[in-house]
């Protein structure tokens, strides 16, 4: 059986059972920062999962203002969520890594307050928005996990707020680099000590940190020269993570292993 549904932005949900990763074989439990589900939950998720969505860099999974028929979970890849103002200004709100829940608002039947776009080719697990309340009502452990994820997301946004409100341009960029590196390590995308292969343009950095493109460029150069952060289009390198964290005045939240769906 193969059936497809057009999504906003031309993305396609391929509901092709042959191609799915069955939840029992989900690669996520191997990530150092993720806490595996219990057997009962895995079984439930298996029947709850509608399919997988593969999208390329730059493609959108969800569009601001629209209600979505689907909720997602990041199986592989990195995405950004952002808000647009009518006059074109854009604020990137957060980065999404494997295990993250995408479209919680959609799950509650609300229109999305932001758009979600892939930063790398990404694979998302697809779930029905309509059936989501059923998950919460019948699987209390998963409901608990959803609350946990929402609280964690809130915590991340708080930290971003501190960055935008209180930190200088250099501190902001150092903060973002450390933040991304930490998330990447937790989710198995990078390893401690290694550099992170992730294509983030300077425009995206600027749109996340509330800086102009030009100033972002200059600040990146300054950080490079100071040997704190090496950040090129394809790669983020942090010679001394502690030094960078210290410079950014960022105490990363304790990494209690996150749940996922």
């Amino acid at each position: 059986m193969l059936c497809e549904a057009k999504l906003a932005g031309g993305a396609v949900v391929s509901v092709n059972e042959a191609n799915w990763v069955p939840c029992a074989l989900c690669p996520l439990p191997a990530c150092p920062g993720l806490r595996p589900l219990g057997a009962a939950e895995v079984a439930y998720m298996q029947q709850f999962k509608q399919g997988e969505l593969r999208i390329d860099r730059g493609a959108q999974a969800l569009v601001q203002g629209q209600r979505s028929a689907h909720v997602f979970t990041v199986l592989a890849g990195v995405l950004i969520r952002y808000k647009l103002l009518e006059d074109g200004r854009r604020q990137i709100v957060n980065f999404m890594f494997p295990g993250d829940l995408v479209g919680l608002q959609a799950a509650l039947g609300e229109p999305m307050s932001h758009s979600v776009e892939a930063l790398t080719p990404a694979t998302l697990c697809v779930f029905s928005r309509e059936r989501f309340p059923e998950l919460i009502h019948h699987q209390s452990q998963l409901a608990y996990d959803v609350i946990w994820l929402a609280a964690k997301e809130e915590e991340a946004l708080e930290e971003h707020l501190v960055a935008l409100g209180q930190r200088t341009a250099r501190e902001r960029i150092a903060y973002l680099a450390v933040f991304l590196m930490s998330r990447a390590i937790e989710t198995g995308i990078s390893e401690p000590g290694a550099s992170l292969a992730l294509s983030v343009t300077q425009t995206q950095i600027a749109d996340m940190l509330g800086l102009s493109l030009v100033h972002t460029n200059r600040t990146l150069q300054a950080l490079r020269q100071a040997n704190l952060i090496g950040w090129t289009l394809g790669e983020i390198t942090i010679a001394d993570l502690d030094a960078a964290r210290d410079f950014a005045r960022y105490d990363a939240p304790a990494v209690g292993a996150r749940p996922y769906l």
Copy 2:
């Protein structure tokens, strides 16, 4: 029976059954922006409620970095939640109004990522942190509401991020005024057309919006002179709400009535 427990900041939980508002008589359902609970949920909350906490302006209900034995709900008053950096910089993360859940992280057993302080004399409903998972597991409708509240809170933080990242000082202050006014109207603290009696110092505005105190002062004066926002220590006045919203380039999210606990 009367028993008291010292909280951080000298606040006191008075577990005095005679003084509580029983959940059946909770004043919150009267608020235009809040959706009343079902009878079963009210009954559950009634036995779940441990007491009430009354704190004065300036007193803290939760302290950053600590685990709390209690979770709260705002019954009356307005509070702020903020994060501190070691060097003293402070970022106010959000304002809390009646119906809001205070200390979700505490409910999950995590240390708080922020502090919570009263902006007006406030009354909080007190719940046991330890029993919170029980609520989620046994009362799926309430679990759903918690998720809803968390999603709404996330949405508010997103909007704040846009303000800090993309808006000018004037837009930010206009945004904040409109935001506070909207929340106040939803929760019955103010009424459409009226001004909002709420003591917010310029230092607090500055700490929320990532501006210096002096620049906040300058900007407030400019907005006053432009007849857009009148904001004094005790009172926020917005002559034309639509004009202000428009100036701030803020489209308030649709006000689907919020649940509460």
